[in-house]
């Protein structure tokens, strides 16, 4: 499977995701944001980090880059797109995913391992997970507080477009388990056609037992499935 990782000035999880993809046997290419065409790819990843320093609004400036037009085209023709953390923020800025990521409710950067629950395991990104499986995954962000309007929230729920929700160790989805104030504890969502996934937690950080755990592996192996 061929993947492309888009690199913006200020991306800083680009190497991490590349390492994870290669470990999972993807044939990966790095694509600099000034390029005007994408290599042929089955999966496009927009990595985490602080593209353009998170200045103005996180993801806003990257959302105007040259390569993004190509990403939008590819996404609209059904290519799989994964946005992690800052990548998720960029996807909402481009309109490929609806809603927005506001400042964390405590206004602080948060880095910790949190529990998330797999809500929809019937997608290209999640078919190797069990439904309601609980994963322990690292988050690291300033703006992960997902917000969207009523209509879209209804759509998310009705059409099963929520990918992951923050939960406690036992799987309860409640206020205490919500690290950043996200609406309904949402940690990741799919686009309507389910070919785009945006998520705040970092699956690429969870593929190596010595460093953390392997709870992120199934996301990548789902894609290979």
């Amino acid at each position: 499977m061929k993947s492309s990782v888009i690199v913006f000035p200020g991306s800083n999880c680009d190497r991490d995701i590349a390492v994870a993809l290669e470990k999972m046997q993807f044939k990966n290419k790095m694509v600099w944001h000034k390029e005007t065409s994408l290599p042929k790819s089955d999966l496009i990843v927009i990595p985490g980090g602080f593209s353009y320093g998170d200045y103005l609004r996180s993801g806003a400036i990257a959302g105007k880059s040259l390569i993004i037009d190509e990403v939008i085209k590819a996404a609209n023709s059904g290519c799989l797109v994964l946005g992690i953390c800052n990548g998720f923020q960029i996807l909402t800025e481009t309109g490929l995913l609806k809603g927005t990521l506001l400042r964390n409710k405590n206004l602080k950067f948060i880095n910790k391992n949190v529990n998330i629950k797999v809500i929809n395991n019937d997608t290209k990104f999640s078919n190797k997970f069990k439904k309601d499986e609980i994963l322990k995954i690292n988050i690291a962000h300033n703006e992960g507080n997902y917000f969207t309007d009523k209509n879209h929230l209804e759509e998310l729920n009705k059409e099963n477009l929520v990918a992951f929700k923050y939960c406690d160790e036992k799987g309860n989805i409640n206020e205490e388990a919500n690290p950043n104030g996200s609406l309904e504890n949402i940690a990741g969502i799919f686009s309507q056609r389910k070919n785009i996934l945006g998520m705040m937690p970092h699956p690429e950080r969870m593929v190596d037992e010595i460093i953390s755990n392997r709870d992120g592996i199934n996301l990548f192996s789902s894609l290979l499935n």
Binding site: G10, A140, D208
Partner: protein, 726 residues
């Protein structure tokens, strides 16, 4: 413009120094030249009060590739890998503007490390604040922590370890020390020494603004009532630009176009150009109208003294200019040839073809003043605290009080604001004795830790100096790393005061002695004097940053208990030394007496033996015993793991308080599987290491027979409340 005595003094120079300048130049300096002298001759850049003492530190060893004298120290970790690291202070700027002060402190130390060709792989910090009840402390804490996080998170380098302390001595003068650690290939290290004539001197990075003009002189003067007004324009950090600058430099370093490279830190363009020329015994000529400026109408004086961040100076090989510029264009950074190397041995400053200033390089560097300041030795105090004469206190109450104070409370409120995992090589995050960072794509790792003990250093600097080196050494040992080398940040008061200078000299003697004995050389460092206000100086606070090597990383060993029912041993002898302990300070507010003595032989022997045990996979968890003594270390192992312990008191116990709260050195706690116990005993005995079996781990309860029993959940709560309530 006539240079009056008043102008001289405003530049932080005394009249004696001024006449020396006139003698060197054989004329009066103009304002630009005076500014340059002031920047180069101040304490921060010239090390005029500290140099003769620093010279005594051991800086060599077979692990050392580059000792002090470059932007950072370089050590060998085997194969073709080198580790480059340094610590630096940003105390005064952080007190004025905590967010930006701390952020630019991180930015500055990162540049020191990637200037030498290393990709930074870890950030650490040592931060000291005043008492929590002091009106400024809370906002300083908030600002400093978010500044450190703000910079490191954005640039994408994990902040993995540090220390945070509160003490009245820092009420008016906080300490913010930042350390950066990078990885490079041994044969790809870049130095600041210029070579060759007529080579292009290139300015890269951000534009120059009026930031922090006279920042370096500020760092060399005490605060007084007027310092609020004297505030220079605060430097604002731009981590995004630094990230671009780092990537661009590392990209340029891949081929052979750089002769010499130097970041613009304190005293900006001045110190970077002088340092490069001085090391290469060359002259340097700058055309200042070419300097990229952010503001209109900037004068040569402002350009030379600006401390705008995220800038570098590079001397390029002939013919490499075009290719190099392409790289910086790609990263949207300024790249301008602003001068050339010359054979005049002068710093020559031109503006629109007119010479605005000319100073012999050696006058600014090697001939800068050096002072052998008066200093006096500290007299040993008598140890006289007799615990039996003090009002009785229950062990449990004392433990709770210590575990819930800000210095011993869990720091996750702080560390969760730092991205500790980016780069995906953090095998052990902060919270343990040392953080562990894997070398990318290899199975070896380094361990890093920073430590200080101002209390000990205040009461007896010689012992204090030894103690911090040993404590740092122990922290690396505890996670299974072989300690290799240190960097140090020496935060002291006013060096013109002979007691303060004595603290400095004696702490350094202690550091020297310990480093020599442990083969733990000093490869880089920084001195920060004049920490204090209105003649009230801070307690001497040298900070040690150590790096150790783990040759083969498996699942890292930490200080959290692993299982129920394993055996707990103390390595090292417990005498019950209470003077200068947290116990006396916290419970009785007693500050008298000597710090615990250091026996370097025991340190080395105990540490090396523990390392052997860890390498043989005989240890489940381990933790060094430091402030708070045995009981606090035990509690920490319990709290982190949610596993309890059952401790039996030794039979020949003089006094429980001394035993459990004493701060005797060279001790560790280890958890051992029952089945491995005899092997462990054997190795300990063979190596003449004193040990005691003190109990076992158990589920749910932290217990000392006939003394106390607390649920681990409760302990956790006690230990985790302070920051969230503050």
């Amino acid at each position: 413009m006539k240079i009056t005595n008043d102008i001289v003094e405003k530049h932080g120079l005394n009249l004696e120094e001024f006449s020396k300048i006139k003698k060197i130049l054989k004329r009066d300096p103009n304002l630009l030249e005076l500014g340059i002298f002031s920047a180069m001759w101040n304490e921060h850049c010239s090390y005029k009060s500290s140099r003769i003492h620093l010279k005594k530190l051991p800086t060599k060893g077979k692990q050392v590739i580059q000792g002090p004298g470059e932007n950072a120290g370089v050590i060998d970790i085997g194969d073709d890998d080198a580790i480059i690291f340094k610590i630096e202070s940003h105390n005064h700027p952080s007190y004025i503007e905590p967010y930006q002060g701390a952020a630019t402190g991180v930015g500055g130390i990162l540049r020191d490390v990637f200037t030498m060709g290393a990709r930074p792989i870890a950030l650490l910090n040592s931060i000291h604040f005043g008492e929590p009840k002091h009106p400024k402390t809370k906002s300083l804490l908030n600002g400093v922590v978010s500044g450190i996080g703000g910079y490191g998170n954005c640039i994408g380098i994990p902040t993995v370890a540090g220390e945070t302390k509160f003490d009245e001595t820092y009420n008016e003068n906080i300490l913010v020390n930042a350390m950066a650690v990078g990885h490079a290939k041994k044969n790809k290290i870049f130095y600041s020494k210029a070579k060759g004539l007529n080579k292009s001197v290139v300015y890269v990075g951000s534009k120059t603004g009026r930031d922090g003009i006279h920042g370096a002189s500020m760092a060399s003067a005490e605060f007084d009532e007027n310092s609020e007004e004297k505030k220079p324009t605060v430097q604002v950090g731009d981590p995004f630009t630094e990230k671009l600058l780092m990537e661009a430099c590392l990209e340029l370093m891949k081929d052979n176009s750089i002769i010499s490279i130097q970041d613009m830190g304190a005293a900006g363009l001045t110190s970077s150009s002088v340092e490069m020329a001085s090391k290469g015994s060359l002259g340097i000529e700058l055309d200042l109208e070419k300097v990229p400026c952010r503001e209109e109408n900037m004068t040569p004086y402002e350009m030379m003294l600006s401390e705008s961040q995220e800038r570098m100076l590079i001397i390029l090989e002939d013919g490499k200019e075009k290719a190099a510029k392409k790289i910086f264009d790609k990263w949207d950074l300024d790249f301008v040839i602003i001068g050339k190397t010359t054979d005049t041995n002068n710093l020559t400053l031109k503006y629109n073809n007119k010479i605005e200033g000319e100073i012999p390089i050696d006058a600014l560097a090697s001939k800068a003043p050096i002072y052998d300041r008066k200093w006096i030795r500290k007299k040993p105090q008598k140890n006289k605290v007799n615990i039996k004469e003090l009002k009785k206190i229950k062990i449990e109450d004392a433990l709770v009080k210590i575990l819930s104070n800000p210095n011993h409370s869990n720091k996750s409120w702080i560390t969760s604001q730092y991205d500790q995992m980016v780069m995906c090589d953090t095998a052990q995050k902060s919270g343990s004795d040392a953080a562990i960072i894997r070398i990318h794509n290899k199975d070896k790792a380094i361990a890093v830790s920073v430590d200080s003990s101002a209390n000990y250093c205040k009461s007896f600097p010689l012992t204090g100096g030894k103690q911090i080196v040993c404590e740092n050494w122990r922290n690396l040992i505890s996670v299974g790393a072989k300690p290799l080398a240190i960097t140090n940040c020496l935060n002291f008061g006013n060096p013109e005061n002979k007691e303060i200078m004595g603290e400095f000299a004696e702490c350094l003697e202690g550091i020297k002695e310990a480093c020599e004995f442990l083969d733990y050389p000093v490869v880089s460092g920084n001195v920060s004097f004049y920490n204090g206000t209105n003649k009230k100086n801070i307690s001497p606070t040298p900070v040690i940053g150590g790096v150790g090597l783990i040759k083969k990383l498996s699942k890292p060993i930490g200080h959290n208990f692993k299982y129920d029912n394993s055996i707990l041993l103390i390595i090292g002898k417990t005498f019950g030394h209470l003077e200068q302990s947290v116990f006396l300070k916290e419970i009785y507010s007693i500050n008298e007496g000597m710090p615990p003595e250091i026996n370097l032989h025991n340190e080395k022997n105990n540490g090396e033996c523990l390392l052997k045990l860890i390498n043989k996979n005989l240890i489940l968890s381990s933790h060094d015993i430091s402030t708070g003594g045995l009981i606090v270390s035990l509690a920490e192992m319990s709290i982190g793991s949610n596993i309890g312990a059952k401790i039996h008191k030794p039979k020949k116990l003089t006094n429980s308080i001394n035993y459990f709260f004493g701060e005797d050195q060279a001790r560790y706690l280890i958890e051992v599987k029952n089945e491995n116990l005899s092997k462990v005993y054997k190795i300990l005995r063979e190596n003449n290491v004193f040990y005691e079996n003190i109990g076992i781990t158990q589920s749910d309860f932290f217990e000392i027979e006939n003394e106390l029993k607390i649920s681990v959940k409760n302990l956790y709560k006690i230990n985790n409340e302070w920051y969230n309530k503050y």
